[in-house]
């Protein structure tokens, strides 16, 4: 991986050079392959950029450019595998490099969208990446055929070697890469049938792991520059508040303190080390103007949402099949319930941080991100420097989970740019964990009111869903809200796959002053829980097994049904469990994939569950790296359990009450259940994998608790129901 922070101030990376070359000739890049740099312009005689994605060196080594962020989800390896598959190169000779976002500007967006969100890296780029590989292979074969003066159709490529069988001649890719780079890319290329894949589809060691076990300086927070200072920051504890005053004199003469930099809603102390800066910041008296929200509490917010559940006014309707009102009126039995979930924080292990160095006429930025182009935009906005003069150094990100790419990805970049500008030296700004948890873009708070009607046979005839909660668009893109509707907030209901004739879904939007954003599995996280838990309440009222009841109502949803059956089979649903153990089941599709989960629990004396085993089954269509899919599903179990069991952000006096891992609790090894992952890829589509594993896990646990106790779990976190620890 050629992405270590550039520690040498005189260093000019290969990308910088290529970017310069390309921007000087940028006019005519097509979308797919852009233009390739003529070999004569390449800086060395040995590396040939065959196309925008692929550089082949004389020693046959292959550099594949990756435009998406790697934050642990494994897409850096998966994307390279897709290119390599069609390139027919020797996988052991592949290395990768992150795309400089400036290149995407100067090359007319040849790299597509760089935002790494919504479990989209593979599913939105597989086609153009495979075409890039196939096109390059064809150019390499053509170059070899020309050299041998034989028809290209007589030549074969495999594992970085081109063979002309009739004359028994062979050439390595490196030997013809220069010539290939001079050829025009083919207009169209055929892609392999996935059944013939040799690299993709096979469990493959990730390219980033060797560095990650050796403590290499591979994260933005690890950057160290000559003459660099360190900044610690305190932001207005109340969202929307402003900095009123601070007493610089109280800390100015402390050893290791360089300066104090005020911002509109924050103040930073700059020092010789992060510790010096942070210690002085804590000691500095700061007064805030809390604005209008300084008294808001969680109780008030809960009442605000309850008002939404009971709003009899005209709220927008997102789905209205049949006649729910009449069907409920005529039902033999009606089941009603209200559910609630709290705000949640991302708490990625690498805190928000950003390092900035002003250069002559330009700027360099290092920041963990899920959206390199947004970092570039933020740095340009904050500095007033045009984007082509800003270098965004891409590094691995210590988690992301939506915090570094969604609602406002540039907040920490803005701050670091302004601080570095004020002090006139390179600055690394690091947020404390408290700043991170208290200045997040939170998973929105939401509540729901259900009513379902059953006929005399226990079949559901009506399902009414009223959602009241905070739209993510209220933070991310307020202009995107039309007629008080945020359709994304109603996912899992608008596409509810259960066969119920009369369905109504409406939404009483209730936006608070707390900023909200995209949190791994986003709106599926709360709506999957709501829907799947209420489903078990309906099944229970109908006197039916929740798995069998799902089967019956998923008769028109074969993919959902297939993962449901697969997970039930693996978990041995319906077979005897150890005494005191109970199963719960749930299924949620999302991000183009289908996932079902079974949780096996027992109840502790205090009313909390002990989760013994979680079994999940997934169909994501085509699988690029099966081992990576497994790790994402394993990780999603942990993500979902931390949230369902413990996760809650509360508000008091307008600010977040939690601040660190002592009061924002995470699952640890001691609570880790056994996890079984069953992959049943059915092919024919490309589903995402970073997020869809999480939504069914929480409701599977809650449904197991319902089975154990007869009491539905209608609010999260679960730990609030018990008196001692889980």
């Amino acid at each position: 991986m050629n992405n270590l922070p550039n520690l040498d101030p005189n260093h000019t990376s290969g990308l910088d050079r290529r970017s310069f070359l390309v921007s000087s000739a940028a006019a005519g890049g097509g979308f797919m392959l852009g233009f390739h740099i003529p070999a004569g312009q390449a800086a060395t005689a040995t590396d040939a950029e065959v196309n925008a994605w692929i550089v082949i060196n004389a020693d046959d080594s292959v550099l594949i450019r990756v435009a998406h962020s790697e934050m642990g989800q494994g897409s850096m390896t998966a994307l390279a595998m897709l290119v390599a598959e069609e390139l027919d190169c020797d996988w052991s000779k592949v290395r990768t490099e992150f795309v400089d976002p400036r290149l995407n500007i100067t090359r007319n967006k040849v790299y597509g969208g760089m935002a790494t969100v919504g479990s989209r890296a593979v599913r939105t780029s597989h086609e153009y990446l495979r075409k890039a590989g196939a096109s390059a292979r064809q150019m390499l074969v053509s170059a070899a055929a020309q050299r041998w003066n034989v028809p290209a159709g007589e030549c074969q490529a495999a594992a970085s070697v081109i063979t002309h069988a009739a004359s028994n001649r062979k050439l390595g890719y490196g030997a013809v890469a220069q010539a290939a780079a001079k050829l025009s890319p083919p207009k169209d290329v055929a892609l392999k049938d996935p059944s013939s894949w040799k690299i993709a589809g096979k469990s493959t060691m990730r390219l980033d792991i060797a560095e990650k076990v050796m403590g290499k300086p591979i994260y933005a927070i690890d950057v160290a520059l000559p003459d660099m200072l360190h900044a610690a920051i305190a932001q207005s504890p109340v969202f929307g508040g402003k900095l009123k005053s601070y007493d610089e004199a109280a800390i100015k003469n402390r050893k290791g303190v360089h300066s104090v930099v005020p911002l509109a809603n924050a103040v930073a102390v700059v020092g010789e080390s992060y510790w010096h800066a942070q210690r002085a910041l804590k000691a500095m008296p700061i007064a805030w103007d809390d604005g209008a929200n300084g008294k808001v509490t969680s109780t008030e917010i809960a009442a605000f949402l309850t008002g939404g559940l009971n709003d009899s006014g005209d709220v927008p309707v997102a789905r209205n099949d049949g006649d729910v009102k009449a069907a409920l009126a005529g039902a033999a039995k009606v089941i009603e319930a209200e559910y609630r979930v709290p705000f949640l924080s991302h708490a990625a292990m690498e805190p928000m941080n950003c390092t900035v160095r002003f250069t002559e006429g330009g700027l360099e930025v290092w920041a963990p991100t899920q959206n390199a182009e947004a970092i570039l935009s933020a740095a340009a906005r904050a500095s007033g420097i045009e984007p082509t003069k800003i270098v965004v150094h891409l590094t691995y990100s210590g988690g992301g989970f939506g915090r570094r790419g969604g609602a406002a990805p540039g907040d920490y970049v803005d701050q670091a740019v302004l601080i570095a500008k004020a002090v006139g030296r390179p600055v690394k700004m690091v947020w404390s964990r408290e700043e991170d948890i208290q200045h997040d873009f939170y998973r929105p708070i939401s509540s729901i009111k259900f009513a379902a009607g059953l006929d005399a046979e226990g079949n559901p005839v009506a399902w009414n869903t009223r959602v009241a909660g905070q739209s993510i668009l209220s933070t991310a893109n307020p202009a995107g809200i039309k007629n008080n509707m945020d359709a994304g907030f109603l996912i899992c209901f608008t596409d509810n796959p259960y066969d119920v004739k009369n369905i109504k879904v409406d939404y009483a939007m209730r936006n608070t002053h707390v900023p909200v954003g995209y949190w791994r599995s986003v709106n599926h996280s709360q709506n999957g829980y709501f829907r799947e838990c209420f489903f078990d309440e309906i099944a229970r009222a109908a006197g039916q097994d929740p798995y069998e009841y799902r089967r019956k109502l998923l008769k028109n949803a074969p993919k959902q049904l297939a993962v449901l059956d697969a997970v039930a089979k693996k978990a041995r649903w319906g077979e005897p469990l150890p005494p005191g153990h109970f199963h719960g089941i749930a299924q949620v599709d999302g991000y183009g994939s289908y996932v079902a989960a079974v949780a096996e629990i027992s109840m502790n004396a205090d009313g909390s569950p002990r989760v013994h085993r979680v079994t999940t089954a997934v169909d994501c269509g085509y699988v690029v790296n099966p081992d990576s899919v497994e790790t994402q599903l394993q990780g999603a179990v942990v993500w979902a359990l931390s949230a369902a069991l413990y996760g809650e952000i509360t508000i008091k006096n307008g600010r977040v009450e939690q601040g660190n891992f002592d009061n924002y609790r995470m699952l640890l090894m001691a609570q880790m259940p056994e996890v079984d992952v069953v992959q049943i890829p059915s092919g024919g589509f490309w589903g995402g994998i970073g997020e869809p594993g999480a939504p069914p896990v929480g409701p599977a646990v809650a449904n197991a608790m319902l089975a154990a106790t007869g009491i539905p779990v209608r609010s999260l976190p679960i730990i609030k129901r018990s008196t001692t620890s889980v």
Binding site: D208, I209, M214, E272, M349, E350, G398, S432, R433, M669
Partner: protein, 148 residues
């Protein structure tokens, strides 16, 4: 000046005695393998070993470690040949990887005191937070490392 021994090498550092070892490592000595995650000894991203025992460097003043043998992730091996590193690669444990330096240092310390730990011993000793959720593979890799 405070004299400290890190990965077998002596360093004389001119820092406040109460500066946490984490920041001496990162900001004074430029050793970036040890990570900052919480600052209150909760998450374990900063775990190092002091005379072979796991310790959280964010809450350990540098003055307290003079005379002790400090081992950081860079001290396991520089080529990935340490049994814990090999097990971590074999099981493809890291995802984002940020917590893994501390995780591996805690695991290596556990294996020093208990070469073949039970799951219960692992649960008690390994209290590091991983947000990506690598725990299932951490456990497998510990058992693999214990056998080598």
């Amino acid at each position: 000046m405070i004299n400290i021994n890190i990965n077998g090498k002596e360093h004389a550092v001119d820092v406040d005695p109460d500066m946490p070892l984490l920041w001496v490592l990162r900001d004074t000595l430029g050793m970036m393998g040890t990570k900052f995650g919480c600052g209150i000894a909760q998450c374990g991203a900063c775990t190092v070993q002091l005379d072979g025992v796991a310790a959280r460097a964010c809450a350990t003043p540098v003055s307290a470690v003079a005379g002790l043998k400090i081992t950081t992730i860079e001290g396991l091996s520089t080529d990935g040949s340490h049994p814990v590193q090999k097990a971590w690669i074999a099981h493809q444990v890291p995802q984002c990887g940020y917590c893994q330096s501390g995780m591996m240092m805690a695991v290596d310390a556990l294996l020093k005191s208990s070469p073949n730990p039970t799951d219960a011993e692992i649960d008690a000793a390994i209290t590091n937070i991983c947000r990506c959720g690598t725990y299932a593979r951490v456990r497998q890799a510990i058992h693999t490392a214990a056998k080598t």
